[in-house]
């Protein structure tokens, strides 16, 4: 029997607020353990939560970008369970009134577009981190992360392959980064994904038993874990007939998923409205105001780059992969025009340097203005394209202008006919045999002669000019 996989995904995106969801503590990553805590995020007796307005705003931004309905009435609920890194013995989350519902995202897999439905996105607070220290019998808890705002984004079971899941996650991550609501850092846990999948005989409608996957922190492992799980479930179905409903962890070392807890061990979270927080009423005007400030999203930007700049779709995709790179490109085009030329430089030389440095175009040491100066020198013929490429690394790093580097290296291209003419006369005198061959119709030697002129000029002669003048001289002298 052939099986079809059905996959839904839960993503926990950490919102980029300066302070936590319900208190004023900093959300910065990597501070000394428990240095970013207060009575509220430690759950000290008597402390009370207060909703972070910016977190709500960011959730609305994300919801609007994901084409969701924004609920005007928001309620926060308590999700009750015991764990050492959960300070209050409950997590403040949203249950029956999430902030965003019923949206969709378009993904592209193998050139085909597909719409993935978003069921809901809700606000909640993160837990702390339990650390099991090697060589110690006990564990310790760091509450710095406790209370950090999260947006949990849940899809409908609309994906049918690991590749679709990865495409969805990449698209979602790009959108959240573009919106500046999440930094998308998977290793630091600011973008965590938990796929759930089931198999069913191809062509049937009923869903099979669902297994949830956790502990996956890169796109590669998403693909690996799902593909492993499809194989495992296929085997189980063929051999045993039924899959157990459970939560499984991706084990990186073993390259397989292992049981974390079964359905029987699942918690009864005893959700109920948090009496410490009054229902949050979002004014229609306020959410519409946020809509007006939404930036152009990646998909729209690709379409615009293709249409307005006449770029190939490939270029448009690469340039819009980061908001910073897209802005860099557009600034250059504003200054210089010639979109395709700019695209080549931004995708080529600039991106290479940025990748080496591991930084985004928005923090490039080379400004668009300075890059355009280089492009102008090439356009004016002052230097060759090859020279421009050669000096780019120095231009990128040094902070000098292109003009300055060209002058320092004495690279200015020689284009005046008199100087080039003198060099040509000299070469023609030095290589009479080749000159004669050309005049007898052997066109190939032209390249050799050009090369000699360039060499004589120390590479500075304008190759176009050399070509033009040499041809003229070779043909005119025969007459």
């Amino acid at each position: 029997m052939t099986y079809e996989v059905v996959i839904g995904v839960e993503v926990h995106a950490q919102l980029r607020t300066a302070s936590k969801m319900f208190c004023g503590c900093s959300t910065a990553f990597g501070a000394p353990p428990n240095s970013q805590t207060c009575p509220v995020c430690l759950g000290l007796p008597g402390s009370l939560p207060v909703i972070n307005r910016t977190a709500v705003e960011m959730a609305v931004r994300a919801g609007l970008a994901l084409n969701c309905r924004i609920n005007t009435l928001n309620r926060f609920a308590r999700k009750n369970y015991f764990y050492p890194d959960l300070p209050k013995g409950y997590q403040i989350s949203q249950y029956d009134a999430p902030i965003c519902e019923q949206g969709w995202v378009v993904i592209t897999v193998g050139g085909t577009k597909k719409s993935i439905r978003i069921r809901r996105a809700h606000l909640e607070e993160d837990a702390g981190k339990t650390v099991h220290e090697v060589g110690s019998s006990g564990s310790v808890v760091d509450f710095n992360r406790a209370g950090t705002p999260l947006l949990e984004i849940v899809t409908e079971p609309d994906m049918r392959s690991a590749d679709e899941v990865v495409a969805y996650l990449k698209t979602l991550r790009d959108i959240l980064i573009y919106l500046e609501v999440c930094d998308g850092n998977m290793e630091q846990g600011s973008f965590r994904c938990e796929p759930n999948l089931s198999l069913r005989p191809l062509g049937t409608e009923t869903f099979g038993t669902k297994v949830e996957l956790k502990n996956i922190n890169s796109f590669k492992y998403v693909k690996d874990a799902i593909e492993y799980e499809i194989k495992r479930q296929t085997k189980v179905l063929k051999e045993e007939g039924t899959v157990r409903q459970e939560t499984r962890l991706w084990n990186l070392e073993r390259g397989e998923t292992v049981v974390m807890r079964s359905k029987e061990e699942a918690h009864d979270y005893r959700y109920f409205p948090d009496p410490d927080l009054v229902p949050l009423q979002l004014e229609k005007e306020w959410t519409e105001g946020i809509r007006a400030t939404l930036p152009e999203l990646p998909a729209a930007k690709v379409a615009r780059f293709v249409h307005d700049y006449g770029l190939p779709e490939y270029d448009a995709m690469v340039l819009t992969a980061s908001k910073g790179l897209a802005e860099y490109f557009e600034r250059c085009v504003t200054l210089f025009g010639q979109p395709k030329t700019v695209s080549n430089w931004v995708m080529g030389e600039l991106s290479r340097e940025l990748n080496v440095a591991g930084i985004d175009a928005s923090s490039s040491p080379l400004s668009p203005e300075r890059l355009v100066e280089l492009l102008r020198l090439v356009e004016q013929g002052a230097i060759s394209l090859k020279m421009a490429r050669e000096i780019f690394p120095e231009l990128y790093k040094s902070g000098k202008t292109a003009d300055q580097i060209v002058r320092e290296r004495g690279l200015t291209q020689v284009s005046d006919e008199e100087t080039i003419g003198t060099l040509i006369n000299q070469v023609m005198a030095d290589y009479p045999a080749q000159v004669a061959q050309f005049r007898q119709g052997k066109q190939q030697v032209l390249g050799f002669l050009i090369g000699q002129v360039m060499k004589a000029s120390g590479g500075k002669a304008n190759p176009g000019k050399v070509n033009e003048l040499l041809k003229r001289k070779l043909t005119s002298s025969t007459q």
Binding site: P45, G46, K88
Partner: protein, 488 residues
Amino acid sequence: MALHKLTLYELQRKFTAGEVSAAEIVHAYGLRIAQVEQKVRAFVTQTKDQAMAQAEALDRRLKQWRKTKPLMGMPLAIKDNICTEGVPTTCSSRMLQNFVPPYDATVVAKLRKQEYLLIGKTNLDEFAMGSSTEHSAFGPSRNPWNLQCVPGGSSGGSAAAVAADECVAALGSDTGGSIRQPAAFCGVVGLKPTYGRVSRYGLVAFASSLDQIGPITKDVRDAAWLLNVIAGHDPLDSTSADVPVPDYTKVLAKKHLKNVRVGVPREFFTEGLDADVERAVNDAIRELKNLGGEIKDIELPRTDAAVAVYYVLATAEASSNLARFDGVKFGLRAKETKDLLDLYMKTRQEGFGPEVKRRIMLGTYVLSAGYYDAYYGKAQAVRTLIRQDFETAFSEVDVIVTPATPTPAFKLGEKSDNPLQMYLSDIFTISVNLAGLPAIALPCGMSKTGLPIGMQVIGRPFEEETILQVAHAYEHTTQWHLKKPPIR
């Protein structure tokens, strides 16, 4: 007159006039506490020494520049479920026996700004769960009127301390009657403000949607004085209301009740009501009429459901609020545990008393999958109906007057084996919390057995002024509030 017998208002006038120093006040209260505390056991923690040090510093400063504030130098007691920075806050529980909060509750911060003097933290039923202060891990407090009787609860320590003149006034908290019932049992005044009137930040939560901090005082004027300081919006408490705070002492000038319609719910005067209480409250209602009030019979038909609704909602919230006491971060941690689950179980077994455990189990049950709608959901719906009953009543009357409790103070041990009987002692106060209304309990008589009797005046949301005015007009023409317990 001995300093400890003065009201807050009287003591403050003496202090402001420079007739008495802060140190003399603390000294007088220290003597009084030494005299009666052995019998009353109102306090969990006494802070006389810190109060004296503060008082002396205050006196030195006032010699340079005499500028006083309404509560400056006043020795107040605070219920031990309200956080005080640097001073243990135990909730009368083994769980928090050694817990010293690193922060002040908002109300305490407000008192501190006034340069009040904390004289001690008062006993309560563990985590405010109870009606007699017998459920304290540190032993029961006693009623100063009769040491064989309970002072009521859960703010029994605060009420007893005020009644026995061990402090000039106190703060309590009220979830189902925990300020008003002990105030009535001890013959003092207890005010539960409108839900949202006073910040809950720093009050260790029992049932968050019902809890409210309020004053327990020697008379109505003092309650108004104290409320003036503690009321108001707090950005740290999302449920605190951004409603302007009037000067509550202004209404005290009115000594009549002309144009005040007083509602009397007949449902409250039925079987189970003690004959002395019924007589005293009826006498009080006649007095209100003499003062010019218009007395009207009203109906609060859902009153009989209030206790049931309360014990579903309050326990549900409590089961979640008390989850943080897990032995991981603060408070008790059980020793010699073999794993995490064992740590949780032993810590909570050892840390909580039987009444707290009973309520956690009840609350966990009513929130469980499959039971939520039948219990929690239904109780919320009935809570709305109870609130509507009050809204309807308040379209015809300005205040509602009832007995504060069905009986005067009962004996220690009388109800401690029968939770249901104990729960019913809050039958007249609970619906007020469910509706979020302000209410005041004040003395209105004595039983044949020599115990105080209290009546309750309930008002519309944020109309504390009206109930204070009614209570003060009554108090002004009667002598009940001047009676002192026989303890010496």
